[in-house]
């Protein structure tokens, strides 16, 4: 078990380093930073001064190692536009994104797991078909569109929820629903197929031959096995959610990391962009690791691997 964790952790560190390199290189590819900082009215001399001041005149690899070195100890430098350190900016915004992600994932799990189980137990009935239809529609609906519809119906017409901003818990309801919908179709279908497979297995026949109650057969013997792929995908989905929250935070004007990322991309605020990408990547890696550990706990066959 410990060996498994150590190995996954090592892989995670490698992935993080790769992401850092890519984030660094891609931001450099997108244009001359010095020109955009100096502004449209700057002269060539101004641009040169800016280039020197921000250290952009140094060779690329020097800039890269200087940045990685400081990033390792949590120093992501200063934002070019916000008068604040990048670390501070992210620290302030992170709780909002995490709250949103957790609300979204909890909602997604609470809806998709019972729905998946129900569809599996009523396989090929109208219930199952309705669930499948629901997941297909859910898959097809873009989240920004769903966000707008919710805003119109719940926010404007019924007036029960605030449309945008970060003030109270009510502000997280609509974004949470929209975010949940990005994961519900996949999780529902996975739960359904996992349960169908488990219920048809030999060990469920054994459980029935043992005379166990239906509830115990479904929720203990079948769900435990069906949950294994669901956990893996749920972790990946939460990762997507944190990334996908860029769209949702922007639509709902939630000032989270995603919104920060969007603002800084628009402004070529490279230190912030790089840090946001890295933070999201680290979360993603952490979640995958967590999923691996959870799966090893669920499936004893994985513990030796």
């Amino acid at each position: 078990m410990l060996r498994l964790i150590a190995r996954r952790l090592a892989i995670g560190v490698l992935v993080a380093l790769t992401v850092m390199t890519l984030a660094f290189l891609l931001t450099r590819l997108s244009g001359d930073l010095a020109i955009s900082i100096a502004g449209p009215s700057a002269t060539q001399a101004d641009v040169e001064i800016v280039r020197k001041a921000y250290g952009l005149d140094r060779p690329l690899y020097v800039q890269f190692f200087a940045w990685t070195g400081r990033a390792m100890v949590g120093d992501f430098g200063q934002s070019y536009f916000f008068k604040d350190s990048v670390a501070n900016l992210i620290q302030k915004r992170l709780p909002i994104t995490l709250t949103l992600g957790l609300v979204g994932l909890s909602l997604a799990l609470v809806i998709s797991i019972p729905l998946g189980i129900l569809a599996a137990l009523r396989e090929n009935t109208w219930i199952d078909r309705s669930v499948t239809l629901f997941t297909m529609v859910g898959q097809a609906v873009p989240s920004f569109w769903l966000a707008l519809i919710l805003m119109i119906v719940l926010g404007l017409q019924l007036g029960v929820l605030p449309i945008s901003g970060t003030g109270t818990w009510q502000h997280f309801v609509m974004p949470g629903i929209v975010l949940a919908f990005t994961a519900i179709p996949a999780l529902t279908r996975l739960t359904r197929s996992g349960m169908i497979e488990a219920m048809a297995s030999d060990y469920i026949r054994t459980a029935r031959a043992k005379g166990l109650s239906r509830a115990r057969i479904i929720f203990k013997h079948a769900l435990r096995n069906a949950a294994i792929p669901v956990v893996s995908i749920a972790a990946v989905q939460l990762g997507f959610m944190l990334g996908g929250s860029i769209v949702i935070e922007t639509v709902f004007a939630l000032h989270g990391v995603g919104y920060l990322g969007w603002e800084s991309i628009a402004k070529n605020d490279f230190p912030v962009v790089q840090a946001v990408v890295l933070v999201l990547a680290v979360f993603y890696i952490g979640l995958t690791l967590l999923a691996d550990i959870l799966n090893a706990l669920l499936d004893p066959r994985l513990r030796t691997g």
Partner: protein, 326 residues
């Protein structure tokens, strides 16, 4: 005297169309080993599953009579049936590798049978599990209780399945080809174990097999199944001495017997496969493969007596084989 398990004219259909079992009748006496024997696809396993009320979705059973220790099984609700299963009638399967849940320890899977049916503490159930594991010849049961199925060999898993079936001290054990997936040496051990347990626990065993060697070794009575029907029923010795149904004779001719096999003479075989029987089928299902079939075989077939507790389903008179050259 009433039998422990009595099945009369059991019918099983899937999706209302395919008839998997067509009026099978047999009885399992207290303390005996009764074998259901036949080729693949002749309805042996489905019969067993129907008795346990474990048919897959879409399967439907009906019977003129199906009673277990005086209880009418056809009238029981799902819940009442679940109370019998694992408790008074237990079942083990052909696939020891996949019949245990991979996510739970052996101990937990065994203990829940006892706590479900008899109540009591988990600790007491684990003690019983360890004791039974010893009885079925598993060494170091204390350690095995904490292990997972994937850590055990096929033979061990089948032993665990047997021990688990015995948790509540059942009267009937249904064993569906319990040794088919195992090595020959392990097969012999498991068969010996079943024979011993039958004696020690006063079990009745309904053993499903396609292997006539196994039948000869362990069965008291045999029912030969073909295409969802029991075509011949007999005490084991009588069946091997004087088989009556052409199908039974065909099956026996397929088995090599030391001393009787001649180098240049091929072993017997039955041409063709078990046919799928649709609705409205009448007459003998074996007639398409039978060397003795004539036009009368398409009509209703009588059940003929051939001796004590020995009957068969065929137009031919008893001991027809002696009257005509094979």
């Amino acid at each position: 005297m009433s039998a422990l398990l009595e099945v009369e004219e059991l019918q099983v259909t899937f999706g209302g169309r395919t008839a998997a079992v067509r009026g099978a009748s047999f009885r399992v006496e207290k303390g005996e080993t009764h074998c259901l024997v036949g080729e693949s696809g002749c309805g042996k396993s489905v019969t067993a599953l129907a008795v346990m009320s474990l048919l897959a979705r879409g399967g439907h059973r009906s019977a003129k009579r199906m009673s277990f220790a005086g209880t009418d099984l056809t009238s029981l609700s799902d819940r009442e049936m679940a109370r019998l299963r694992g408790n008074r009638m237990a079942m083990i399967f052909q696939e020891p590798m996949t019949s245990l849940n991979p996510a739970f320890t052996i101990g937990s899977q065994m203990a829940e049978v006892l706590t479900r049916h008899k109540g009591g503490s988990r600790a007491a159930a684990l003690d019983r599990a360890a004791e039974l594991m010893g009885r079925v010849g598993i060494t170091a049961p204390g350690m095995r209780l904490g292990q997972f199925p994937h850590q055990l060999s096929g033979g061990l898993r089948q032993r665990v399945m047997i021990a688990m079936a015995l948790m509540c001290d059942p009267e009937l054990l249904i064993a569906d080809e319990p040794t088919t997936a195992l090595d020959v040496t392990v097969q012999a051990q498991i068969l010996r174990l079943l024979a011993n347990l039958k004696r020690e626990f006063g079990l009745s065993i309904l053993l499903i097999t396609h292997d006539l060697g196994i039948v000869a070794r362990v069965a008291d009575h045999v029912s030969v199944m073909y295409a969802g029907e029991v075509v011949e029923r007999a005490p084991t010795a009588a069946l091997f001495r004087a088989p009556q149904h052409p199908y039974t004779r065909g099956l026996l001719s397929c088995v090599p017997v030391p001393g009787r096999v001649q180098r240049d003479k091929p072993l017997g075989s039955i041409p063709g496969v078990v046919p799928a029987i649709g609705a409205g089928f009448a007459g003998c299902a074996f007639r398409s493969r039978c060397a003795h079939a004539d036009e009368t075989c398409a009509r209703a077939i009588p059940r003929r007596e051939a001796g004590d507790a020995h009957d068969y389903l065929c137009r031919l008179e008893p001991d027809w084989a002696e009257l005509q050259p094979a």
